[in-house]
Amino acid sequence: MANLTRRPPKGKGVMRRNVRAAASGPRTEYLAFVLAGETYAAPVSLIREIVNPPPLTPVPRAPSVTMGIVSVRGQLVTVMDLRRRMRLQESGGTRRTRILLIESMSGELIGLYVDEVQQVYRLAETEIEHATAALGGDVAGYIAGIARPQGSVAFGDTVGGQAPVIILLDLHAILGS
């Protein structure tokens, strides 16, 4: 259990280095992670915990996006492959692979398998483009918007200094399907 990375609640600890407050209006915290080389993010408020993947037990005859089940401190968690859900290329686990624990609407604890967890962004509404229609395909429904943060980096490595493009996921849509 010692190797489980526990996120402090509310992300206060993570937010040590403060943001150069620039834009107006309230900001929402997003956790950015990597899926098949691209940066995605989901609201921090929905993510209960980030864990190192415990041994995964596949469930035969389960839906294909289900990777299997894991035990997190005695609780069974169904793990979903976000890459598969987003029709992305899958690769094997690395030491950076993590599972994000999310509580679904029905109260079930779901794990989302991601290639790497990056950092927390505090995004203002102005930095988010909600036009998901621009992204075609059958995964459009899972995307809440696109964000281009103005260099407002909270912690972790900055990616070459340029403003990355972050795809914001609609976790409720993903878990609901």
């Binding site: 037990t57 389960a62 069974l76």
Partner: protein
Amino acid sequence: MAEASDRAREEFFSEAQEIIEGLGRDLLALDEALRANKIDPDLINDVFRAVHTLKGLAGLFGANRMATLSHELEELLDNLRLGRIEITASVLDVLFRSVELYGRILQNEKDGRDVPMPEVDDLLRTLHQGAAQVTPQSAVGQYELDPVLLSVLTEYEEHRLRTNIQSGLTLFRLRVQFQLATIDQALDDLKVNAKPFGEIITYLPTGAGADADSIELDILMASRAPLDELRRALIDTGAEVEEIPRRSPSPPGGALPSSVPSSSRSVPVPARGTDAGQILAPPSSVPAGKQRDLGSIRSVAQTVRVDIHKLDRLMNIVGELALVRSSLGDIVERLRATPSERENSSKLRELQRTFHRHLEQMQKGILEVRMVPLGQVFERLARVVRQISRDADKLVNLVITGAETEVDKLIVEELSDPLMHMIRNAIDHGTETRGEREAVGKPAVGTIALNAFQKGNHVVIEIQDDGRGIDADKLLDVAQRRGILTPEEARGMSYRDALTLIFLPGVTTKLDVSEISGRGVGMDVVKTNIGKLGGVIDVSSEPGIGTKMTVTLPITLAIISALLVRVADRFFAIPLANVQEAVALDEETVRKIDGRDMITLRSSTLQLCYLARLFGLDEEEELSARIAGLLGGARSAGGVRSGATGGRRLEGRQTLGLSGLGKRKYIVVAAVGAKRLGLVVSELIGQRDVVIKALGRSLASVRGFAGATELGENRIALVVDAPALISEILEGGDRARPAEPKGAPHG
């Protein structure tokens, strides 16, 4: 604050539930007493008190509907208690109905639903009308009138009856045969003849008649004239005249036949006596109530109500501790290997053993707490039997054995509906009408036996009727019409196999529209529900002799002994309760029959199911490759350094020793009821006590697994749902394959 009041509400629900259950028991006793004609006044008092307590509770918690119902019932019961109205089967019906409604009201309250409940309003109206008739009935109650007759009186007739009695007239019953052709005229003649002596209040056919063309009527008449005079006057009509006897312990001042008007004025006396009775009642009933309350306070002190989910949580903690124990064991073993630590390690080992022992006791203790006697659900069934048999107008005697058999509380709760449906079927469709029974020389009263007993780790519940049995031909016929069977298949089917058709959706023996009771829930639903509890249901039937449904259930769902097996590269747990035996598989003996793998084991045929094949573990497809890769990581000491790419997959497979898959396999013979299936596995690991955890809701649609269990070090084994597999493979196989090409013509 909110939490405290929530808890108080919880208390309210469980207390109310308990009282309602007690009420049901008292009513059953009362019903029995009524039939034996020995009514114990204490019983009525008990019922009254229960309703009174409910009223108080309901008032306290703002459960208005319950309070109103209790209030009205209290009135009725008070009248019963004070002898103002007679206790009859129809009064009992109302009481039974209110127990049922109490349950529903409570459920709605619990769910926080405020929905209209017309059935409650109906009952309230009935009760209200009943209350209005209290005084008149007290007068009518002097006579031994058939309750059937009383229940069919119109308001006017009742009013006339009342008035006549109050006027001091005597009641007579005239029994007359009429020819159907001339009944109108004859009845008029009779009325004319009777007029001078009194009044004809009502008439009812007796159901008897000399022949098809005649009808016999019972005529209720009030007359001033004495019996002899009336007889003489009506001699020409052929009427048999009888005076209706009065009840012997008539209310004080109750009119003797000869009484003068002044004594009939005493009829309202009981009504006035109400006040007196109420004044008198408290001294006698209140102390009694107090004593009872004290008694129950003592008993409460010894028992504690516990939310079953709290027990679940405890059970989970025990499961966690068991994992700690096994990790501890590993450390102890490692220490023992270090010579310098020998002393410490042996002490630690001692401690670990003690820990193990206490943990086992704790586990057992929690399991015991979860156990409740099946009698809880049987009592409710007894009420249902009474109701259904009255509705269906069939005489049924319910014989219960083994009510003390204990089962996990959760199972008991989930059992009540399936059992109710089976009992209902047994009465509605199994038991013949009285006439039919007598015609074939069976006793007029049908018997339904409800037997429960423990059998190893299982509890068996049998529902047996002595009715007409199941008509297998009808089942086959329906199954063919629904496209479930081809005519050839139907012809080849044994009686026993045909019976199991009853568990398929849409198959029923209720062929004719007129036979549909409108309430029967299909046996397929019953079967599904039993299956969810890890149980199985079996049917046997003999035409003309009766039908027996046998439900076999595990005693508890919380913890089970399981056989741990390896299939390909994974571990699975098979509940030991479902395991009959495990033998090595000799591939040479496997025969293919009709596309299925069969072997002969102990001179009977056993169908095999290769779990690896079923679970897609042998396939060289991308998915299983990925799985193998991941699992390789999973097994390499908790790391995640596994690869799923081609090259690493191979490596993973080799390290897992999958090359040895061609080796000898084993058959685990899973049995549920009389059905057996050989599950082919790669290796038998051993027996474990496991705590089953349910799979998440998103996996609810995945068939074949009852849950998962932890093996320690975060490793998980899926628990095979043997009953589901058995029915999927044996029955699903039966139907699915031949049905496919036909394309299920009737949907």
